[in-house]
């Protein structure tokens, strides 16, 4: 008589949660840019707390993904609510675009929508 097999010890099955990224905000408008869109980082120089690094301003990149909607850090830094939330993107830049060299290497950074413009927007 065959021995009873012990139950297989498997980790619990995993499934996507109800609200996977991009982290949603039902109240927010749809994102202006889709993955793959070519965008330019605005050349702005507003005072205060800004999460858009200087080295990326004015540079062309491609939207890698939409991360979701997040309170605006430029307002959170001054104890304002930062609402409505802003769309946040991961934008991929080539080293050639950033530093003028021919490498295929890339830099991805998170950029808020209000810091992005369509690639064909006139340069300021």
């Amino acid at each position: 008589m065959a021995e009873a097999q012990p139950p297989a010890v498997a980790p619990p099955a995993v499934a996507l949660p109800a609200a996977p990224p991009p982290y949603p905000d039902p109240a927010a408008p749809p994102p202006r840019f889709a993955p793959g869109a070519v965008v330019r980082v605005r050349r702005g120089a507003a005072p205060g707390h800004i999460r858009t690094p200087w080295y990326l301003r004015g540079r062309l990149g491609r939207v890698e993904r939409v991360c979701g909607w997040f309170a605006n850090p430029e307002e959170l830094a001054y104890r304002r609510p930062g609402l409505p939330r802003r769309a946040l993107y991961r934008v991929r830049f080539s080293m050639a675009e950033l530093w003028g060299e021919g490498s295929r290497d890339t830099v991805d950074a998170e950029i808020f929508e209000h810091w992005l413009e369509a690639a064909d927007a006139p340069r300021p």
Binding site: P11, P12, A13, V14, A15, L16, P17, P20, P21, Y23, R51, T52, P53, Y55, C67, G68, F70, P73, L88, R90, L98, W99, R104, D105, T106, V107, D108, A109, E110, I111, F112
Partner: protein, 220 residues
């Protein structure tokens, strides 16, 4: 390091003034005045207690909670991704949900897992400050917060990686990830050859902190 001072003496018999019994200099007492930010930290901590926002015990417990985080948590996540395809898929789609599925409470962390493969190698930086997945990996190493690492990684990543002992073939694209806003990043290294049949704990043992930042790759 054990010998960070010049000495040409034997450790036995004679003693130097100001030296311990083993012939090493005593660490100087910290008699300098507090810095501005040390004073501010104490002031805020005492105010929190005075106003009943948090007790000293709660503050100590929270520090203990953060100190208990270590790269071993991230290594567990990576090792499971190497052995469980459904978990790997979840990790790449929703890093924070994957951590919770592994039993790791990562609080408000919004984790993006980026996976190395034959074509691309990923490495993490925060050029603006020192953003780091602390609830998953613990506190960042000091070099991660240095201006040199933060400025150079986005400019000459291959030279920086070479200084860490990691030289990548030209055919492999280096993808630098600058943690500029709400996301935090975990590099999922490639599972080394020769680890077939290894259990989760043994796999996790080769996944170092530096592998998960992307300045190293696992070795057996």
């Amino acid at each position: 390091m054990p010998h960070d001072h010049d000495h040409d003496h034997d450790h036995d018999e004679h003693r130097h003034e100001g030296m311990s019994a083993s012939g090493h200099p005593y660490r100087a007492d910290q008699d300098a005045p507090l810095t501005h930010w040390q004073r501010m930290e104490i002031a805020v901590r005492e105010l929190l207690a005075e106003k009943g926002v948090a007790t000293p015990a709660e503050i100590a417990a929270q520090i203990g909670r953060m100190d208990a985080r270590s790269p071993a948590l991230g290594a567990r996540v990576v090792a499971r991704a190497w052995t469980d395809p459904a978990f790997r898929a979840l990790l790449l789609a929703d890093g924070s949900a994957a951590c919770r599925a592994e039993g790791i409470e990562v609080d408000a962390l919004k984790l993006v897992a980026v996976e190395n493969d034959a074509q691309a190698h990923n490495v993490i930086v925060c050029t603006l400050c020192s953003c780091y997945p602390r609830t998953l990996l613990g506190l960042p190493p000091d070099w991660y917060k240095s201006r040199a690492y933060r400025t150079r990684l986005v400019r000459e990543p291959r030279r920086v990686l070479a200084e860490f002992g990691l030289t990548l073939p030209d055919a492999v694209t280096v993808r630098v990830h600058d943690s500029t806003a709400d996301m935090r990043y975990l590099v999922v290294p490639r599972r080394p050859e020769g680890t077939e049949g290894w259990g989760a704990a043994r796999l996790a043992s080769i996944v170092t902190r530096d592998c998960m930042i992307g300045v190293a790759v696992p070795h057996i």
